[in-house]
């Protein structure tokens, strides 16, 4: 079989990530994600010539629609949600020729029979070579059924010389048991290397840059350990509330919605050992190894290591906002946490004794996600006569959003007759150094999947490990009724959150 490597015209063409022919089958094609993210991303990838001419999209959902009606809806979606806010008619017609639609019930085997026939027809018409990506963008309760039906219709097994992959949206399970069950259901039908569990945080440029920053720069790795680092703070703050998703959020909470997936992915990139290569499994092996070293938090010690909170009314960005319990779809007596702070340890050689403080919440003062590495104080205090507040440790801040970048805080002498120290930030801002905008996370992740690169996707063991760590916390919380709300919207969370870190003689950063 020939490959792109045999194509002498491909060498040196600046678009090096050209993808194989394929069909992307979207389950839940009439849903919001398809309109807002998936189709605009696929259209843009096509315009950037990163997808081949031999490419097609097959939408699948319950709503009866013709191919033409679905194309019209997708055109509206691309106009509404793409950056350009317009499509050229001839270019759209060319792209639209490759869009197909099939209506049906996700539980109905006949649908999958029709889907098989249509996919074969698309292969003939579009030259998509039998390569398929199934994208599950449906309610999580339907994942197992959809996967079973795909398997029963023999759609999971690629034909000779072709490939089949599946992308599964979050949430990946509601707890450890359901995540394990879902993984088992997936494993009955797909091999692990066919499975792409999406975590759009990993598509963000700065998250990817963490690997480069740590392992392409010789100066950081030698000090990236307990000998030089005092503690690490990870802040994942949102200024928004539940934005009409109160019904969903009531079943989730910040621990399930953000921490056990997104924040733990970031945490693992900070804590991992250098991988032996940049292959997907080499990177993910090191990530899971790090997470396996997380010191378990037992039900009995939850109060010592974890704080939860829920916002009440307050003001954010100059606007009065209501409390969580007043949001639509939320139980007025809700015990769902909108804030959580954790203290975690990695019981391994590199991180022995270094606390990782994590906080994530809604209706905090501003939207910011950052990792702050707090280094130890200089070992010998030469400047004894300097007021102690002037003697702070160095801090390295990796900001993921907004205004992605890296800042190193260093002490410098203020010019003058006496020695005074001021702390100055040495900034590297993505926006300042690379004026080009980063690709949308979904564009990057979809293309990675089509190219067969699962580095930025979560592996089975990682999803289960995330749940293992948080399960005792969820269990402890279930048995005790919290005194909610306990923080005002627009503040940095409950007082207990501050106490969690202050009792160790440290303070949260004010990002």
């Amino acid at each position: 079989m020939s490959s792109k490597n045999d194509n002498p015209l491909r060498e040196g063409v600046r678009l090096e990530r050209a993808a194989d022919p394929c069909t992307v089958v979207i389950f839940g094609a009439s849903g919001d994600l398809t309109k807002r993210k998936l189709l605009p991303a696929l259209y843009r990838l096509t315009q950037e010539r990163l997808l081949p001419a031999e490419f097609a999209v097959l939408g699948f959902s319950r709503s009866p629609m013709s191919h033409e009606e679905f194309r019209d809806k997708m055109k509206d979606a691309i106009v509404t949600y793409s950056e350009a806010k317009r499509v050229d008619e001839a270019v759209w017609q060319s792209f639209a020729q490759g869009i197909y639609y099939i209506a049906g019930d996700i539980n109905d085997p006949d649908c999958y029979q029709r889907m098989t026939e249509l996919l074969d027809q698309i292969d003939r018409e579009r030259g998509t070579a039998g390569n398929r990506v199934f994208y599950l963008s449906v309610a999580p309760s339907l994942y197992s059924e959809a996967i079973e039906q795909i398997g029963a219709a023999n759609l999971a097994r690629p034909k000779q010389g072709s490939w089949t992959r599946i992308i599964i949206e979050k949430p990946f399970g509601h707890d450890l048991e359901s995540a394990k069950q879902l993984n088992q259901d997936v494993a009955k039908v797909f091999e692990e290397e066919q499975v792409y569990r999406i975590d759009h945080y990993l598509g963000k440029e700065t998250v990817q840059n963490l690997l480069v920053f740590r392992f392409a720069n010789g100066i950081f790795e030698p000090i990236w350990n307990h000998r030089y680092i005092d503690h690490v703070q990870i802040t994942n703050a949102e200024a928004i509330g539940v934005e009409g998703r109160g019904g969903y959020y009531e079943t989730a909470g910040v621990l399930r919605d953000m921490i056990q997936n997104h924040v733990f992915q970031v945490l693992s990139l900070v804590a991992m050992e250098p991988p032996i290569s940049l292959s997907a499994n080499a990177v993910r092996d090191e990530k899971i190894k790090a997470m396996q070293a997380v010191r378990p938090i037992s039900v009995e010690t939850v109060a010592e290591y974890v704080v939860r909170g829920q916002y009440g009314p307050g003001s954010v960005g100059g606007k009065q906002v209501e409390g969580y319990r007043e949001e639509p779809g939320v139980n007025p007596e809700s015990a769902t946490e909108t804030y959580a702070a954790l203290k975690m340890y990695f019981d391994n050689w590199r991180w022995a004794g270094v606390p990782f403080y994590i906080r994530s919440g809604k209706r905090l003062p501003k939207r910011v996600t950052e990792i702050a590495i707090h280094f130890r104080q200089a070992p010998h205090l030469l400047f004894r006569n300097i007021p102690s507040q002037q003697l702070e440790p160095n801090v390295l801040v990796v900001r993921i959003q907004p205004d992605e970048g890296i800042t190193l805080r260093v002490g410098a002498k203020v010019p003058g007759q006496i020695t005074r120290i001021r702390w100055v930030n040495m900034d590297f801002r993505y926006g300042a150094s690379f004026g080009v905008s980063s690709p949308e996370a979904y564009e990057r992740l979809l293309l990675d999947c089509i190219l067969g690169d699962s580095t930025l996707y979560a592996r089975r063991d990682m999803t289960e490990r995330g749940w293992e760590i948080v399960m005792p916390i969820l269990e402890a919380w279930q048995s005790a009724k919290p005194a909610f709300p306990n923080y005002e919207a627009g503040t940095w969370g409950p007082e207990e959150g501050d106490e969690l870190i202050e009792k160790d003689g440290r303070q949260w950063r004010k990002p």
């Binding site: 020939s2 060498e11 040196g12 600046r14 096509t46 315009q47 300042a432 004026g435 080009v436």
Partner: protein, 379 residues
């Protein structure tokens, strides 16, 4: 926002430390003016722009505004006035700042504009080398025809990591292209060269390459025996435009086709004979009758022999706004694709070149093969 230029008096030699002092003073002033947490000074590279006259300074200023916003750098704009009556050097310094937004700080970088007159043009490189920010790559944007016997070019290339030219500006296409081919062939260890005209071909090259990523079509690549490149003629020259020649050179070099015979020229086309082993092959450049910008490509067709005819085409649409691809295998026409035609601005093109370091061997081979073709053109 650009600061007012701080000028240094014209004289035969310039005190580099005075330029650095002026730059420092600009930064201090900018920092004091800014009450919003200071400005960020960022530098990714040194960018030397060599302009053979001051005719397009306004245009260059606009380009630099765009380029420095995306690629913070120390820009050293060198205006070379060889026709001046007296030799002299003068310089002025300015800062270039992007406007801050709610989420981003103001980012500033700096520009030194040097005007070199008469004999000073040939020695200006020795001043520039002292102004380069250390440890950062040096890009030379040479806005003239590159010639080995040009001392200024020679000296500036030697202090640069990458040289950017634009072969679309070649007035005597065949002679200038041959000169460039000589430079690349004879100086493989020199700075890397890139060409804005080559970058304009990226979409064409990607689409042509894309045909043969498909397993079914890949074997047909080895059966190709004719290439037709249709172009819009230049306004003031009968020569085939450099862009068409570069594409022809690229296809020939990638496919392993060697120039075998002379060129057959008619008023409408020029046909080159090539070979690969025993195979006889042709590349034909033909003038389009369609209304397309002079020097641009209209259509590229790659074809196999008639007995198992297959052809692959990439063409500008009739209105020039789109680019279309198609494949024909025997009687069967395969699906077409239509994409927006991207006619990138000079700012965008130079910005993309500044992302690259290192030699582009594919480009170099394309130029050398194109140079071999024009050497046989008899023109």
């Amino acid at each position: 926002m650009n600061e007012q230029p701080q000028s240094l008096n014209p004289k035969a030699s310039i005190d580099v430390s005075a330029i650095e002092r002026e730059l420092t003073s600009l930064w201090k002033q900018a920092g004091e003016d800014e009450d919003n947490g200071g400005i960020i000074r960022a530098s990714l590279l040194n960018l030397i722009i060599y302009a053979p006259s001051d005719d397009d300074l306004t245009k260059l200023d606009d380009i630099l505004t765009d380029v420095t916003a995306a690629h913070p750098c120390r820009a050293i704009l060198t205006i070379a006035d060889r026709q001046a009556e007296q030799s002299s050097l003068s310089a002025e310094v300015t800062s270039r700042c992007t406007l801050p937004t709610a989420a981003t700080k103001q980012v500033c970088c700096e520009q030194v504009t040097i005007t070199a007159r008469k004999a000073q043009v040939d020695t200006v490189a020795s001043l520039i080398v002292q102004l380069l920010l250390s440890d950062l790559p040096v890009y030379l944007w040479w806005r003239a025809v590159p010639r080995l016997d040009d001392k200024a070019f020679h000296h500036l290339v030697e202090i640069s990591n990458r040289v950017v030219i634009d072969s679309a500006d070649f007035r005597e296409t065949y002679r200038d292209l041959a000169s460039l081919a000589d430079i690349l062939r004879d100086n493989p260890r020199w700075a890397a060269f890139s060409d804005l005209n080559w970058a304009r071909l990226t979409a064409w090259r990607a689409l042509l390459a894309g045909f043969y990523d498909v397993t079914e079509y890949r074997p047909l690549l080895d059966q190709l025996n004719r290439i037709v490149i249709e172009y819009s003629p230049l306004e003031e020259s009968e020569a085939i435009p450099a862009r068409a020649l570069l594409l022809g050179g690229w296809l020939a070099s990638r496919l392993g086709w060697s120039v075998a015979g002379g060129a057959k020229t008619t008023p409408e086309s020029t046909l080159f004979e090539l070979s690969a082993g025993e195979k006889q092959l042709t590349i034909e450049f033909t003038r389009t009758s369609r209304q397309i910008e002079p020097g641009h490509l209209a259509l590229v067709t790659l074809g196999t022999p008639a007995n198992h005819a297959a052809s692959f085409t990439v063409r500008r649409s009739a209105d020039g706004k789109r680019i279309e691809t198609g494949a024909t295998l025997g009687e069967e026409k395969r699906f077409q694709r239509v994409l927006d035609y991207e006619d990138w601005s000079e700012s965008a093109l130079i910005g993309k070149e500044l992302d690259l370091l290192g030699h582009d061997r594919v480009y170099e081979q394309a130029v050398i093969r194109a140079g071999e073709m024009v050497a046989r053109s008899g023109a």
